[in-house]
C-alpha cells in the first residue's frame, strides 16, 4: 500500500502543491513529479553530490532527503540560476574556465558553489578545494572548477 502525503514545495520561487509517496526522495520529486530534470542523480546514496540542491538556502543531497521532509520549504535548483536566458556569473565562469566536460556533475557543483559562496564570500583556494571534495567529477580533474569558483568569489567581492 502506498503511503501518500500532500506537500507544498516552493521551487525557484514557484509554489507547487502535490501528492507524493513517502519513500520518494526529494531528487525524484523534483525530477519526475515536477519536471526539474536539471537536478541529476548519480549514486543515490550521498557520495557523488550530483543531486545537490538548496533547501531553505542550505546545500543538501536531494537523494538523502525525502520529498515529504521538505514540505513547506523553499528549494533552489540549477534551473533557478539563469535569469531571462542569461547565464549567472557562476555558470559563465564554469564555461570560461572549462569547469565541465560531460556536464553530468555540473548542476550539483553549481548549487554547492552557490550555497558556499553565499555563506563564505572570502574563501582561500585551499578552502574551495576542500568544499568541492563534496562532489565527484570524473572529467575535469577539478582544477577548472576551483578556478571558476575562485573567480566568482573575487568578482563578487570586487563588485560589492
Amino acid at each position: 500500500m502506498k503511503d501518500l502525503q500532500l506537500i507544498t514545495l516552493t521551487v525557484n520561487g514557484t509554489e507547487h502543491e502535490l501528492v507524493v509517496e513517502s519513500r520518494r526522495t526529494l531528487a525524484d520529486v523534483l525530477r519526475h513529479d515536477l519536471g526539474y530534470t536539471g537536478t541529476h542523480l548519480g549514486c543515490e546514496h550521498g557520495i557523488c553530490g550530483a543531486c545537490t540542491v538548496l533547501i531553505d538556502g542550505s546545500p543538501a543531497r536531494a537523494c538523502l532527503t525525502f520529498g515529504v521532509q521538505a514540505d513547506g520549504c523553499s528549494i533552489s535548483t540549477v534551473e533557478g540560476l539563469a535569469s531571462d536566458g542569461e547565464l549567472s556569473d557562476l555558470q559563465r565562469a564554469f564555461s570560461e574556465r572549462h569547469a565541465l566536460q560531460c556536464g553530468f556533475c555540473t548542476p550539483g557543483f553549481l548549487m554547492l558553489a552557490e550555497a558556499y559562496l553565499a555563506e563564505y564570500p572570502n574563501p582561500s583556494t585551499e578552502e574551495v578545494r576542500e568544499v568541492v571534495a563534496a562532489n565527484l567529477c570524473r572529467c575535469t580533474g577539478y582544477q577548472g572548477i576551483v578556478e571558476a569558483i575562485s573567480d566568482v568569489a573575487r568578482s563578487r567581492r570586487e563588485s560589492r
Binding site: 550521498g46 553530490g49 546545500p59 563534496a134
Partner: protein, 285 residues
C-alpha cells in the same frame, strides 16, 4: 536504488515522537538529518516500516552553557557546531567545532545532527569518539521520563547502543571544558569514513601533563579509551617524546580487526601517528 515503502509520521515535540515510537512498534525508526539512515534505506540495508520525522522539533536545536557544562540539543547540525566556534557557549570547547569539519562534507553537515550521529553509533564517527573522550552524558527520553547515560556505557557494539526502542536522544552534555584537546583522523579521501580516528584531551600546566585522555575509533566495534597510554601522560612533560611513548603504548594495546581498508598492523600504525598528531595539535591551541 529506491528505498522500500514506509509510512511517514511527523513529530512536533519529543513527547509526540516517543508516543509514535510506542504506537508504531519496533520497526519504526526516528529520522533526524537522515544522512546515514536514508543512504542505508536506499541500499535497502535498512527497511523501517515507519519513519518518525523529528526534524521539526526546533526546541532541540541549541548550544547552551550552564553550571553543569555544555549542552547540545540533539537536533543541532554538525554545521551549526562547526560555525559556532567563536561563541561564548563553546569557550573551552573549540575541539568540537574543529572536529566537526572532519564530518562528511559541507552539504552533509548542514543536514546531519549530533543526536543522529550518536544514535547511529558508527565507531569512527567524530561525535561518538568525542563523547567517549570527554565523558559526555547522553540524555534520552522515553515514555517514563528522562535518563542520562554515560558515553562510556552508551555504545554497545557495531551500530548498537543503550538506547531502548521507545527512547529518543534529546541532548548531549559535555561536563567539562577541554581547552587542550584535538581530533585527527585518516581516510583515503577527504570526507570519507575514517579508517582510524584519534582524539586526545590533555590537562597541561607549565609544560607538564597532569593527566590526559586518549580515545580511538576504528580499532574496535565501539570508540575506546586507552588507559595503557593515558597512564604514560600522567605527570610527564608535554613533549613530543612523551606523546610518542603514549602513542606507541596505545598502538601496542589495541587489537584492531582487518578489512579491505586496512589490516590490523596498518591500523596500529595509523593509531600511533594520529595520536601523536592530535597531541601536537592539542598543546598548540
Amino acid at each position: 536504488m529506491k528505498p522500500a515503502p514506509f509510512t511517514y509520521h511527523r513529530a512536533h515535540d519529543v513527547r509526540g515522537a516517543v508516543e509514535s515510537l510506542h504506537e508504531l512498534g519496533e520497526d519504526a525508526k526516528l529520522i533526524a538529518g537522515g544522512q546515514s539512515l536514508v543512504a542505508m534505506m536506499n541500499f535497502r540495508l535498512a527497511r523501517p516500516s515507519a519513519l518518525i520525522d523529528v526534524n521539526r522539533i526546533d526546541a532541540l536545536r541549541y548550544l547552551r552553557r550552564d553550571g553543569e557544562g555544555l549542552r547540545i540539543g540533539a537536533l543541532t547540525t554538525h554545521h551549526t557546531v562547526e560555525s559556532s566556534g567563536s561563541t561564548a557557549a563553546l569557550a573551552g570547547f573549540g575541539v568540537l567545532s574543529h572536529a566537526a569539519r572532519w564530518i562528511g562534507h559541507y552539504p552533509i553537515r548542514t543536514r546531519g545532527t549530533i543526536g543522529g550521529s550518536i544514535a547511529h553509533a558508527d565507531s569512527t564517527a567524530e561525535w561518538c569518539l568525542l563523547a567517549v573522550l570527554l565523558d559526555a552524558q547522553i540524555v534520552v527520553r522515553g515514555q517514563v521520563g528522562e535518563r542520562s547515560v554515560a558515553a562510556a556505557d552508551f555504545f554497545h557494539g557495531f551500530l548498537t547502543t543503550a538506547l531502548e526502542p521507545e527512547e529518543m536522544i534529546v541532548e548531549i552534555l559535555f561536563p567539562r571544558p577541554a581547552p587542550h584537546a584535538a581530533l585527527s583522523e585518516f581516510a583515503q579521501r577527504k570526507g570519507d569514513f575514517a579508517i582510524v580516528a584519534a582524539a586526545v584531551d590533555l590537562d597541561v600546566e607549565d609544560g607538564v601533563c597532569s593527566a590526559g585522555r586518549i580515545a580511538l575509533g576504528g580499532v574496535d566495534a565501539v570508540p575506546i579509551r586507552v588507559p595503557e597510554a593515558e597512564s604514560l601522560l600522567q605527570g610527564a612533560p608535554a613533549t613530543a617524546e612523551t606523546f610518542r611513548a603514549a602513542a606507541d603504548a596505545a598502538a601496542a594495546a589495541v587489537e584492531p580487526g582487518s578489512d579491505a581498508h586496512g589490516d590490523a598492523d596498518y591500523r596500529r600504525g595509523l593509531a600511533r601517528t594520529l595520536i601523536e598528531r592530535a597531541c601536537a595539535q592539542a598543546i598548540a591551541v
